[in-house]
């Protein structure tokens, strides 16, 4: 059988989906089907152990050179310190097209695994300093103490003058 004939015998070529989507008015069923397909793709991409973890805990963990990444379906990716395990930053990455959230997880997983530096350059990274919160908390505590002391002094002064 020649090459040309075998191409005809085996229908390899462009395969169009049963119906093009996004359709003008996608139904809830369309969204659900897309979500299921994306979930299946994610399952195919990640190792079995990661998939089990995802099913149990709802997140994917990937150890990289610069940190441990925890990817969630519906929130920003956490970047944790490799030694302490503490969250040091949040990363936000999105696909340039509208696609199910699991597809974004696939993209993040592949980028972190293969091109971590590109991931850092592309995603918006929000460092979690923690110090701002601590300083603000200390300031509020000091302010509350000052107010309490002031109140106590006022009460005592009022008692003396009476």
């Amino acid at each position: 059988m020649s090459r040309q004939q075998s191409d005809t015998a085996f229908p390899v070529g462009r395969i169009d989906p049963p119906h093009l989507w996004p359709a003008p008015n996608p139904t809830q069923g369309d969204y659900e089907r897309a979500k299921d397909k994306a979930r299946q793709l994610l399952r195919q991409i990640v190792p079995e152990s990661s998939w089990r973890e995802f099913e149990n805990k709802g997140m994917l963990q990937i150890i990289g050179q610069r940190g441990c990444y925890v990817i969630y379906p519906c929130s920003q990716t956490e970047i944790r310190d490799l030694k302490s395990g503490q969250c040091v930053a949040f990363a936000c990455l999105q696909l340039s097209i509208s696609a199910p959230t699991y597809d974004r997880m696939v993209a993040e997983y592949l980028l972190i695994k293969n091109a971590e530096d590109v991931y850092w350059k592309t995603a918006n990274i929000f460092l979690r300093t923690g110090n701002e919160f601590e300083i603000a908390t200390l300031f509020l505590i000091a302010f509350d103490i000052a107010l309490s002391v002031n109140l106590l002094i006022e009460v005592l002064r009022y008692g003396v003058t009476k």
């Binding site: 059988m1 090459r3 040309q4 075998s6 191409d7 085996f10 390899v12 070529g13 462009r14 395969i15 989906p17 989507w21 996004p22 369309d30 089907r33 897309a34 979500k35 299921d36 397909k37 994306a38 793709l41 195919q44 991409i45 990640v46 190792p47 079995e48 920003q76 936000c92 990455l93 999105q94 696909l95 340039s96 097209i97 509208s98 696609a99 199910p100 597809d103 696939v106 993209a107 997983y109 592949l110 980028l111 695994k113 293969n114 091109a115 592309t122 995603a123 918006n124 929000f126």
Partner: protein, 84 residues
């Protein structure tokens, strides 16, 4: 073994297969598929070889820059930083 391989792309409705080929596919058809691959790459998409590794029985998950007719390929749209 005459394995069928696919060029898949992520789109709004999940992923879809845009081309399939096997060992008997003509070089002309493969060239067409490669052209399609290169067009997407030029648009900023990136590609991963998601073929099953024979040893580990897991996806290879390697980012590729050139079309590999021996690989199962997933095309992923351009990514960008998201909002806080």
């Amino acid at each position: 073994m005459n394995t069928t391989r696919k060029l898949r792309m992520i789109c709004a409705g999940g992923d879809k297969t845009i081309a399939e080929w096997n060992d008997t596919t003509s070089p002309q058809r493969l060239a067409e598929i490669e052209k399609e691959f290169n067009t997407k790459m030029a648009q900023g998409w990136f590609a991963a070889d998601i073929s099953l590794d024979e040893l580990t029985r897991q996806a290879k998950d390697v980012i590729i820059r050139n079309f590999d007719p021996k690989a199962e390929i997933l095309l992923i749209p351009r990514v960008q930083g998201g909002r806080h």
